[in-house]
């Protein structure tokens, strides 16, 4: 059941839902964005009651290909340990949706998309917020005929979206899992993303944001921007090991842990202006700010089941930020769990092999599925 004003298309392995001008996206700043296209992937099958849908919200630099290889870049699925058959979010049981975020560059409307005049938006793209991303996702979910999501889950920027989902649409979110995130971007993260943005804008190929018209890309600037968050996503121990290694080999620079090759493909697939818009949306996120400064008010009266996960060595989104979310949930009387996972892998621990995390997430998802009376083998 697709919305009358929207139609599904597929090109080059990217599936999109295109809303026409009669269904604009109302932005937080009052502007209307139309036409809107949302690129998305789904895994598994929706059950007859339409009660087994899971929305995965991706982080700043990932995309909708959560459990399958990206056909554009050839990169493997970014969260195969969590989403897939027999994984904590079991695609044999759940219908998993992951949409490229509003302002992104993997098919969803963003600064690289063409405006009505046939030219790329570039810096004419309106400023967007986490709330706008969520509103766009909600249009997609509605268009897919899903009234209520079983689970919304995300880490980092995706976790911010998940928190906003639970706050803005409590009746449409049965369970919410937030991982290594915060209800408000920290000053430290704002500083890091500002460095990244300055690196992009300092690249001569940025051309005042109009690089697409000149057929160039600010690849060097974007690489530095990417590294700023990558380096920060490692733990103290991991950074130190790499630094020692660089010292031994008498190099000035140390390997950030991602091969240059994968960063090249990142720069090729990721629009630099998109990075500016998305990182700015993250910086502006302050959920409590919309509720008189008291975070608990954001979750008042909701019946969503929450579980908050944090990693001990994460210093981009340290456990204290997750604890603040958990305390707000408690104060709102919400059904909440909060668990800190011991790990040496920093912020990116959620992407890697963390048996404790996987076991805890499975426990949460399964207990919520039982509460929602979902059968072990969902699907239509």
């Amino acid at each position: 059941m697709i919305h009358a004003a929207a139609k599904v298309q597929a090109a080059g392995g990217v599936r999109t839902l295109a809303f026409d001008a009669s269904a604009p996206l109302q932005l937080a700043n009052g502007e209307m964005l139309a036409p809107l296209t949302i690129a998305f992937e789904t895994y598994g099958a929706l059950n007859a009651e339409r009660s087994n849908a899971v929305l995965v919200c991706h982080a700043l630099t990932t995309d909708q290909f959560v459990a399958s290889p990206n056909p554009v870049t050839g990169r493997p699925a970014w969260w195969p340990r969590i989403v897939g058959p027999g994984r904590p979010i079991d695609t044999n049981r759940f219908f998993v949706i992951c949409a490229n975020v509003l302002g992104g560059s993997m098919g969803t409307t963003g600064p690289a998309s063409l405006a009505r005049d046939g030219q790329a938006y570039s810096l004419r793209f309106p400023p967007i917020t986490i709330a706008d991303m969520v509103r766009a996702q909600s249009m997609l979910v509605e268009a897919l005929g899903i009234q209520s999501l079983f689970l919304v889950i995300g880490a980092g920027m995706g976790g911010m979206q998940a928190l906003h989902w639970a706050s803005a649409y409590p009746k449409r979110v049965f369970a919410c899992a937030t991982i290594a995130t915060a209800a408000r971007q920290s000053a430290q993260n704002i500083a890091l993303s500002e460095l990244g943005r300055q690196a992009v804008m300092a690249d001569p190929d940025w051309r005042g944001g109009g690089y697409l018209a000149h057929g160039v890309r600010p690849a060097k600037g974007l690489t530095v921007a990417r590294m700023a968050t990558q380096v920060a996503s490692h733990s103290e121990a991991s950074v130190r090991a790499r630094l020692n290694d660089a010292h031994k080999r008498e190099r000035f620079s140390f390997d950030a842990g991602y091969s240059t090759g994968s960063n090249t493909s990142f720069v090729e697939r990721f629009d630099a202006n998109s990075y500016l818009y998305l990182s700015r949306a993250m910086d502006g996120f302050d959920l409590a700010g919309d509720f008189g400064g008291r975070l608990a008010n954001a979750f008042q009266g909701g019946s969503t089941r929450h579980c908050v996960f944090a990693f001990s060595s994460d210093w981009r989104f340290p456990p204290a930020e997750s604890r603040a979310v958990a305390r707000a949930l408690i104060a709102a009387g919400a059904d909440a769990g909060f668990v800190e996972i011991e790990s040496d892998n920093g912020h990116d621990a959620y992407l890697g092999e963390e048996p404790q995390f996987e076991a805890a997430l499975t426990g949460f998802v399964d207990s919520c599925a039982t509460a929602r009376e979902l059968s072990l083998h969902g699907g239509a």
Binding site: R305, C307, R323, A326, R327, I330, A331, A332, G333, D335, A336, G337, F338, V339, E340, I341, E342, Q356, A359, A360, T362, G363, F364, D366, S367, C368, T370
Partner: protein, 213 residues
């Protein structure tokens, strides 16, 4: 203190193995069906599971130990990792039907504060305490001059020693009404001659108090 103790059953005379947590069964009998319960210091979540199963309670937990919390979340329990001393203040007033301290109040640095918070959060408060004035403890101290604590010089935190009378007095001082107090011996409800708090203080090994703020 004139409160009468409820004698649930006669003194346990059988030599069956004692249940691991006798107070849990007593607590499960106090909690009404479908109640909303907060277990402060829920440990491995055993009581939460018991209350969910036996009382259809909506039970949640607060636990300091991270590994224990992980174990709870793995088993699908709503448990928050945190410290009762600071986090109880966050819970909304009247948010729960029961707030339970199952042998945990005596581990806190500020038990009065925690109990006061519990009285604010819960319609009722359940506290189980080990009786430091149990007769066997007294004999051992009197005869051998040794305290029962194998942990006297153990590392880490120490549990406070408190007798049944000590706790009853604390509850009275904090203006809690003792609705029921169940003495336990050998992990089972009941203690010989334990009709009054005075006698339970000698003959019961532990006790579970049901308090109303």
């Amino acid at each position: 203190m004139a409160a009468q103790l409820e004698l649930v059953q006669g003194a346990p005379l059988d030599l069956e193995a004692r249940p691991a947590r006798g107070d849990h069964d007593v607590i499960a009998r106090m909690v009404s069906d479908g109640a909303k319960v907060l277990d402060v210091g829920c440990g491995d979540g055993g009581l939460i599971q018991l209350l969910t199963r036996e009382c259809k309670a909506r039970a949640r937990g607060l636990e300091r130990d991270k590994a224990a919390v992980r174990g709870c979340v793995v088993r699908g329990l709503s448990v928050v990792q945190g410290d009762a001393e600071s986090d109880l203040a966050e819970f909304p007033s009247g948010g729960f039907d029961f707030v339970v301290f199952s042998h945990t109040l005596t581990h806190l640095a500020q038990p009065r504060d925690a109990l006061r918070q519990a009285g604010r959060i819960g319609e009722r408060v359940i506290v189980s305490v080990r009786n430091a004035a149990y007769m066997r403890t007294r004999y051992r101290l009197a005869l051998s001059g040794r305290t029962p604590a194998t942990q006297t010089w153990a590392d880490g935190e120490l549990e406070r020693r408190c007798s049944i009378r000590d706790f009853a007095e604390l509850a009275r001082e904090m203006r809690f009404n003792i609705e029921t107090a169940i003495p336990l011996t050998n992990g089972r409800p009941g203690a010989p001659f334990a009709k009054t708090i005075w006698r339970a203080n000698l003959f019961a090994e532990e006790a579970v108090f049901l308090l109303t703020p």
